[in-house]
Symmetry: C2
Subunit: 432 residues, 2 copies
């Protein structure tokens, strides 16, 4: 029997899910994979609240992670505390001390992936991180191994369950963003401080992970254009629906003109596109690959047990490679594409949906279209919902494909017009 | 540089796709995975027709596969001829001669999976078979590794592109089965002899592969209930649509009452189910797992380059494990669930759609419902489309959940009635 001593750091929702799952599947894992995972130590800031169900008496509890990462008997450290500090030190020291690492920490991987993988490579120790994107959906494994050798043209993901739940609620129940957010919080789908999710930052962290997997590039997270969903109104969704479109918070990485676009923002997509029907807290990832073609992965991208599922599959795959001295996957991940550069956001091209409030005076549309025209932007359609003299009405526009920079400059001018009473909202359309 | 000598047996559509892809991605594979694949020998029955594009001058062509499987310099044999013979001998001898094997041969794996894996385990040689189900979609990898440790409750697949194309065409264009089949043949989606596809046998082979991956059981293919699509008429599809249902050829393996159901047949599924929108030659697989939840994989399940994508990822993954003496994945695959037994088809329960032609005489429905009632089957709805005295009209029925055996016996009786002019067609409904 293959025996691996595990040190678990972070015993919150996912951590206790891991222990529950390991306990339930102990016999199966022993029979099927000839492997036993012994949870030797658990570290958490609050060890008093720990539920010992399923844990053996010999499991040691500690509030000091040093007791885990410096324990010479521990083979694998499972890091589930998230965030940058002290997670970085935990992972680095664990690798230096000859331990493998399993983590769900997208934020740390987005910021320090290259450094961590380099350390893993040099120490011949593996880093597994299936639960970092899409919880237990085998996304990481599919890109890094299942589609190994493929050329990735694009990666399009709905990878933040909270945001997708909010947008789905706003669509289904015709409610405001604030109402949908409260609903998400009440159901436990959103944190009391939901900033990381609704600002798009969580998706950006995950996109950075997908980018080094699919495109072999460690991006600076500051270079990933990131826009959240809190400015989306129900009027936007309604207008989108009238055009057979849906608004999704999409994480996009795609090659165009030998540059890589990396961006997270609310995106208009056709209603009949597979990603349009991904609703609620579900996650989905569309991979545009050569030669395998389009591959879609879909499932529960969040939740205690789905995330625990990702951690356990990592542990098993690690155990099955344990006898190997090299960390082959890490060695390939650390190798960057030497020439691929990011495209500047100003240079990307899309059709844009534009919405703003304006005083309904004759000639307003000719002023607006004049400004857009001067910037080389042509309008595909305009809708002005209600006509009320001297009070502001919403104006909706759809442009033909235009460069981001031109749209930005034109909107700056439009927002300074006296007849315009709100900052224009612009939403990019993706054609896939 | 890791160097693997490859022997390729079968140089048809997929085989030449593999060479094309390996040639195009040679530099990438060298840089990323530190690996070089040298195609040392290619075997095909017809070497005259071989296109040498992308092949080095040192590649040897042969019509005798013994020249490949007995070549001591070859590390991996890629078997792409399909069928049972001589593929079985090729794989067995290759393993015995210390070679790894990559294959797309679902038929052979369905029949001889256990014997092949046992041989691989004893010789410490790996067998990779990503392209056997869903071509390059990472289905095999996701079940065997990505979801390792999970408990599989059910596996539901649209895994035959030809059948799915035909049913999609019949739905979209309101055409007959024969017309849709011809269309599939013209587009190259169906063989000139399409029996394996439309009879459900190809799906049954693939289901057998999925069953040993997900449920750890090597089933006798004869025990997989298999029914094709050639008896489906446009009237069935139309009636299904009126009930918000779609007909798909589904491969189903699921646990119920501690038994495993294994069956391939046309199936009614709700239109809003993710599998219902999988159209044309696309494939999709829904995995009902614990604790990860539902996972859906979708993509191009057929075609030269998608299949080649599966073979190449197998080769790369093999190369990354090559230094390892054990064949860990094979070792786990060969371990069966010691207690899981198949459920008899007679014992499965479903709602049934029934269609038959009957003389439109008063009292006919009371005769039919009397027979069904005697077998404990209650009717949820009945539709009789046209009323023409003394000529046969189609009758459509939907039952409440009933055991297969009772339906079978009742339909035998109904088909013997003088007023019934065609053998009743029954389609099972799946509720997931």
């Amino acid at each position: 029997m293959n025996k691996l001593n595990v040190g678990l750091i972070g015993f919150g929702v996912v951590g206790s899910g891991v222990v529950k799952f390991l306990t339930e599947r102990k016999k199966f894992i022993a029979r099927k994979f000839d492997t036993e995972f012994v949870i030797k130590k658990i570290c958490d800031r609050n060890i008093r609240a720990i539920n010992r169900t399923g844990l053996s008496k010999s499991t040691v509890f500690t509030t000091d992670y040093n007791n885990v990462i410096n324990d010479s008997e521990i083979d694998v450290v499972v890091e589930l505390i998230g965030g940058l500090k002290p997670a970085e030190e935990i992972m680095m020291t664990s690798l230096r001390n000859g331990k493998h690492v399993v983590t769900a920490n997208k934020e740390l991987l987005a910021h320090k992936g290259k450094e961590l993988f380099t350390e893993g490579k040099e120490r011949h120790r593996d880093i597994y991180f299936e639960a970092s994107v899409g919880a237990g959906i085998p996304i990481i494994k599919s890109i890094a191994e299942g589609l190994a050798g493929n050329k990735f043209n694009g990666v399009y993901g709905i990878i933040n369950g909270t945001s997708n739940f909010i947008l789905s609620e706003m669509t289904k129940n015709e409610c405001t963003f604030d109402y949908a957010l409260k609903e998400a919080q009440q159901r436990g789908y959103a944190e009391s401080n939901p900033t990381l999710d609704i600002s798009g930052m969580d998706s950006a962290h995950k996109l950075a992970v997908l980018i080094f997997l699919a495109f072999g590039k460690f991006v600076d997270i500051k270079d990933v254009y990131t826009e959240g969903i809190s400015h989306i109104t129900h009027a936007d969704i309604e207008y989108a629906q009238s055009l057979n479109l849906t608004i999704k918070l999409l994480a996009i990485a795609k090659k165009s003109d030998d540059r890589l676009e990396a961006r997270v923002h609310p995106t208009l997509i056709p209603k009949n596109h597979p990603l349009a029907s991904v609703n609620g807290v579900f996650n989905a990832l569309l991979l545009d690959t050569y030669p395998t073609g389009d591959v879609l992965l879909y499932g529960q991208g969040a939740g205690q047990m789905s995330a625990a599922g990702g951690v356990i599959s990592d542990l098993i795959n690690l155990a099955l490679r344990h006898k190997l001295k090299s960390a082959a996957r890490i060695e390939s991940l650390v190798k960057e594409n030497p020439t691929l550069k990011l495209k500047k956001m100003d240079d990307i091209e899309a059709k844009f949906y534009i919405r703003f409030m304006a005083i309904d005076k004759p000639g307003i549309l000719s002023v607006i279209s004049g400004i857009l025209g001067k910037h080389g932007i042509s309008i595909a359609s305009v809708t002005q919902k209600i006509h009320k003299r001297s009070s502001a009405v919403p104006v909706f526009m759809l442009t033909h494909p235009a460069k981001e920079k031109k749209i930005r400059l034109a909107l700056e001018k439009i927002s300074r017009l006296a007849i315009v009473r709100s900052d224009p909202v612009a939403i990019r359309m993706e054609k896939f």
